[in-house]
Structures are given as C-alpha cells and as structure tokens.
C-alpha cells in the first residue's frame, strides 16, 4: 500500500506514464483538445495522439490562464492578497481564504477566536458541498447529460451562494477571512438561513443519487475507467477526493486537526477501485459527511468575537520567517508557503494548487483509453483552471 513496500530496485521509472504502442494500423490522429473546447473547464489544452479512438499520447498544456497570481502577491500587502486568493479556485473562494489566513496565522503565530473557527468550518463545509455538487454536475455534463444534472447542482449551489452573499457581500469572491478571524460576524438570522439550507441538502443529494447513481449509462461510462492506483496517487501528490477514491485514507482535516475539526464526528469515505465512479461517489458521500459536520457546527457555535483583538488590518508586517500552511480544500490539499522578510509584502508567496498536482496523473489515467473517456477522466479530477495556472 505504501510505496515503501515497492521493491526499491524497480523504482526507477515505475511512476512514469506507461508507453502505449499503436497497433500500427491506421494513422495516428493528432488532435489538440482545447484551449477552446467545450469540455476543458475553461482554457486547458490536451495534445492527443489517437490511434483510432484510443489515446496513445497525451500532453497537457497549461498556462492559458496564468494570471501571475504569485508575482502580484509579492507586490501587494498581505491583506491585499486575500481577495486575489478568491480568484484562485473561483468555485470555492472561502476555503482559499481559509488556507491563506491559516498560513499567515502560522507565520505570525496568531490565534483565532472560537466563534470565527466555527464560522470558518460552516463556510468551509458549505463550500465543499457546493463544489462537489457542481463538480459532479460538470462531470455529468461532460458525459452528455444536456445540462440537467448541472442545473440541479446549480439550483442547490445558488442557495448556498445566497448564504455567502448575505454574509460576505459577494456570491463568489467572498474575501471574508482575515488573519485572526473573520471580517464580519454572522447574525442569528443568517445562521437560521444556513440551518434551513442544510436541512434541504440531504433531499438534494438523494434526488441526485436516484437520478444518476444507479443509471446504467453512468455506470457503464464510469466504472472501470480512468483507474488510479493508490501507490501512484500518493507518489504523484494527488490529494482530496481523488486520493480517497483510490482507497488512501488521507484527509487533512483528520491528519492536521487544523481549526477545530477534531471536535466534529465525521467519517472519510474511501473508494476501492479508484475509477471515475468512485470519485463521483466519494464526492457525493463527502457532501453527506459535510452535512453532518454542518449540523454539528450549527448546533455548537458559541458567542463571542469573530476577530482576534490583537489582529492588525493595516501596517501588517510579520517578522522574518517562513511558514507552510495547508487545509483540506474541496479539491485537495491547498497549501500556502510564505516567506516574510519583515516587509509589508510577502517576500515569497507560493500556492500549492491541488488542481495542478492532481493533473500530474492525467496522462497515466488516460493512456490506452477512449477519447470520450479522456473528457470524463479530466472532469473527474475536478480542476479549476484559475488554480492550475494561477
């Protein structure tokens, strides 16, 4: 299971993508999928070589959305980087906020009030639920379901976005968390609204499952396709639902106990096959677990301030040093690595994007399968280009 069990003698090259030989019949068709392609989630490109419909070679091409996030962050203040993190993984801005705030808090050794931690958990899990819902919606969209699953997912997402907007002021770019707490406090009315939405989520997941999980077409398309072995998954740094779908029990919420996650009872769903269907189901089951966490958090949320009184908004200058902070974002491990030289801007600011690193194994999963599968496998990785290219 762990790579240490692998014979070190054959390690060289074992984690490289397999070499698929064309069967020599027919020409190889060189196709560029993207950057403008209906199923590449924006601007991603895969250079494919096809033997018939079988994929012989696949080279991902990145950078079509390289917005110089890290460079810009080195020229603006720590606070001003916060809204930029919203735009990394633009589907789940709040977890990005959280990860960045966590890294900065590590850098300066700051405490977060308890109520703020609860709010962070609530928002983080809501984000996870809506991200997983829309990600499986997109996956089904790529399978050709003419939008209906996506519409249902977005119907639910809109409810969650309304919550975000009424608390943070923006639907997508929340810019909510601060070093040492959260920007504004949540009113009891808002918490009641969250309770209402959370109460409605199980019905949505049930509907979605009735609609698709048992469908023969979904099973035929997803099961046994795009298999990722756990050894390779770990070695390639794959994280998040993708890693857990391969059967590896690694959830940073459980491992790092960051925030207050050790107070909540939740389970980590694991897949046994590591194929698309497992990734799909692990996401659905994670939504269910998130609902559980949300219910507990909403029950236990204490009063008090949401911001550390010692926190500074302006003239924030951490002492020289460095810190790496990470959280379990919906897509995997989202880490921020910060080096401070004592100035108002980070000296070095690095994002560890789960989407980019999860794509490392795209080639391994796709080689030898059908073109139509490539689209699905790509969709099942669940990436956001803003984070891949930054």
């Amino acid at each position: 299971m762990t790579p240490s069990t692998i014979d070190p003698e054959r390690l060289e090259g074992w984690n490289r993508p397999p070499i698929i030989e064309p069967d020599g019949e027919g020409d190889l068709l060189e196709v560029a999928m993207g950057p403008h392609h209906p199923s590449t989630h924006g601007v991603f490109r895969m250079d494919l070589a096809l033997d018939g419909e079988r994929v012989i070679r696949l080279k991902p091409v990145f950078g079509y959305l390289h917005r110089n996030h890290e460079k810009i962050a080195e020229t603006v203040s720590y606070l001003a980087t916060m809204p930029y993190t919203d735009r990394l993984d633009y589907i789940c801005s709040l977890t990005n906020n959280w990860a960045y705030a966590l890294a900065v808090e590590k850098l300066v050794g700051q405490e977060v009030p308890e109520r703020a931690e609860y709010l962070r958990v609530i928002l983080g899990e809501l984000t996870r639920a809506q991200n997983h819902a829309s990600s499986i919606g997109f996956l089904l969209q790529e399978m050709g379901a003419s939008g209906t699953p996506l519409m249902y997912a977005f119907r639910e997402r809109e409810k969650i976005l309304d919550l975000f907007e009424s608390l943070t002021g923006s639907r997508m770019m929340c810019n909510y968390m601060r070093f040492g707490g959260c920007r504004v406090d949540a009113s009891p009315v808002w918490l009641d609204a969250v309770r209402k939405v959370v109460a409605g989520l199980p019905a949505f997941v049930d509907e979605f499952e009735r609609f698709l999980s048992g469908s023969e077409i979904v099973m035929a398309r997803c099961q046994g396709v795009g298999i990722l072995k756990p050894e390779l998954a770990i070695n390639a740094g794959v994280t998040g639902p993708m890693l857990r779908a391969s059967g590896v029990n690694y959830d940073i919420r459980k491992v790092d106990h960051y925030g207050i996650y050790d107070r909540f009872k939740f389970r980590v769903p694991l897949g046994d096959h590591g194929d698309i269907y497992d990734r799909y189901m692990v996401r659905i089951l994670e939504i269910r677990e998130s609902i559980g966490i949300l219910e507990q958090a909403l029950k236990g949320i204490p009063g008090g301030p949401v911001m550390d009184p010692k926190a500074k908004i302006r003239n924030f200058r951490p002492k020289p040093g460095e810190a790496y902070g990470r959280i379990e974002a919906p897509k995997g491990e989202l880490g921020f690595y910060l080096i401070s030289d004592g100035g108002p801007n980070p000296y070095r600011y690095r994002v560890r994007p789960p989407s980019l690193i999860n794509l490392t194994v795209l080639e391994d999963m796709c080689l030898g399968s059908n073109v139509a599968d490539v689209v699905l496998i790509f969709g099942s990785v669940d990436i956001v280009l803003g984070e891949v290219d930054r």
């Binding site: 299971m1 762990t2 790579p3 240490s4 070190p8 390690l11 060289e12 090259g13 984690n15 490289r16 990145f62 950078g63 390289h66 110089n68 890290e70 460079k71 020229t75 590590k106 850098l107 300066v108 050794g109 390779l232 770990i234 070695n235 390639a236 740094g237 794959v238 590896v248 690694y250 491992v255 951490p318 002492k319 020289p320 040093g321 460095e322 810190a323 790496y324 902070g325 990470r326 491990e333 880490g335 690595y337 080096i339 401070s340 000296y347 070095r348 690095r350 560890r352 980019l356 690193i357 794509l359 490392t360 194994v361 290219d389």
Partner: protein
C-alpha cells in the same frame, strides 16, 4: 514527528558524506529546514521516502525562491598610513578611518520541498536546495524520479525562475509559451511595456506609465 536535528542525524547516518545544513526559521511557525547539497539530494530523498521510520512518501509542495545578488555595503574600519602635518613637520601617522566597502554577494535560486507522510500521517519536513548563482550555474538535480508530484512543479520553477533540473523527464516551460525568453518570477524581471492606458496609476505603476510615455514621446520625436 522528529525534530530537524534528529532527522539530520538519521540522514547522516544513512547517507555517508552528505552535506546537510539546518536553516533555522526565526518565525513563530518553527518550521526549520534542511539545506541539501545538490549532489546528494537524490539519495537523501530516496532515503527519506523509503525509510520505514520517516516514510515521507508524499511530496506536497515545491517552491522556487529567488534571492537576488545583494549589494552589501559594509562599514569597515581601515587603518592606514597617512602623511600628516603635525606640528609643522610631515609625519606618517596611523589613522583608523571608517570606509564603506561595497561588494556583491552573489544571489542564488532556491528550491524548497515540503514533505509529508501519508502512511505515518506526519510532516512537514522542509528540504531546500540552492544553485550556485543566478546566471549560468543554475542546475539542480530533479526529484521527479523519486516523487512524481514534483514533475509539474519543477517544470513551473524552470519556467518562472530558470532553475534547470537535471534528470527531469520532460523539462519544458509549463505556463508561458515556448518561445518566451524570460523568467518572470525572478525579482529583477522587467515587464513588457504596455502601459498605454493607465487612468488610475500610482506607486510603481505610475513610474512604469511615465516611462512608457517617455518612450512613446521619444519614438514620436525620432520620427
């Protein structure tokens, strides 16, 4: 999880002749790191990954850092012979003068690896490697054969910082286009000049916009 010192001892015991330095982290996070000598990096990495005690099977993050050439202005006390007129006659007197000496401390490019263990659920262990300088000796060994997750991240560092990873299976630019010549994440990178329309400039943008205007004016007067 063991402390950095313990890790250092363990590595030194396992990989003889390895050059390791502890880089302390003064900040509150306390994440100290180990500086590897590039020639031993691969064997150290392999040890850390395969050793039953560490099992650092998960390379989470690879970052490039640019430390530019620093011009260091030192105040040095210099003692020298000075001919002075003392009491009407010339004498050679020893005098201590403070003098500012400038010398360039060569910068380097640094690559930082953050390691975790999925099997043992511990971490992070931070490794660093440094190039000799920033211009021609920018080669470092690639850790992609050990941890696949370094593949794209090292490509990115090659693209944006210009570190050449020896042994990387597919070292191409990751984010910028192939014909691009610069390494834009370096701190001395000069952006292309396209500041035609800057309605709200200030700070650095203002300088760049003004430079652009001057350039345009110069071009127009030349024509």
């Amino acid at each position: 999880m063991k402390t950095v010192e313990e890790i250092k001892t363990a590595i030194e015991a396992a990989v003889p002749g390895v050059g390791l330095t502890i880089i302390p982290n003064p900040g509150p996070s306390g994440q100290h790191s180990l500086l590897l000598a590039p020639e031993h990096a691969a064997s150290v990495a392999k040890f850390l990954r395969d050793d039953a005690e560490f099992t650092l099977d998960f390379l989470s993050n690879v970052s490039g850092v640019d430390w530019p050439d620093k011009e260091i202005a030192e105040k040095v006390k210099v003692t020298r012979q000075v001919t002075k007129t003392v009491d009407g006659e010339e004498q050679s007197v020893e005098e201590t003068v403070e003098e500012v000496r400038k010398h360039v401390q060569p910068g380097f490019l640094e690559v930082v690896y953050h390691l975790y263990s999925v099997a043992k659920k511990h971490g992070p262990v931070t490794l660093r490697m440094r190039t000799i300088n920033r211009s021609d000796q920018v080669e470092l060994p690639s850790l992609t054969p050990i941890w696949r997750s370094a593949e794209f991240q090292e490509r990115e560092i090659f693209d944006l910082y210009g570190v050449v990873f020896v042994g990387h299976p597919d070292l191409r630019r990751l984010l910028m286009w192939d014909g691009f010549k610069d390494h834009p994440m370096r701190r001395d990178y000069v952006e292309p000049d396209d500041y035609e329309y800057e309605p709200t400039p200030h700070d650095s943008v203002l300088l760049k916009a003004k430079a652009h205007q001057a350039a345009v004016a110069g071009r127009e007067s030349a024509q």
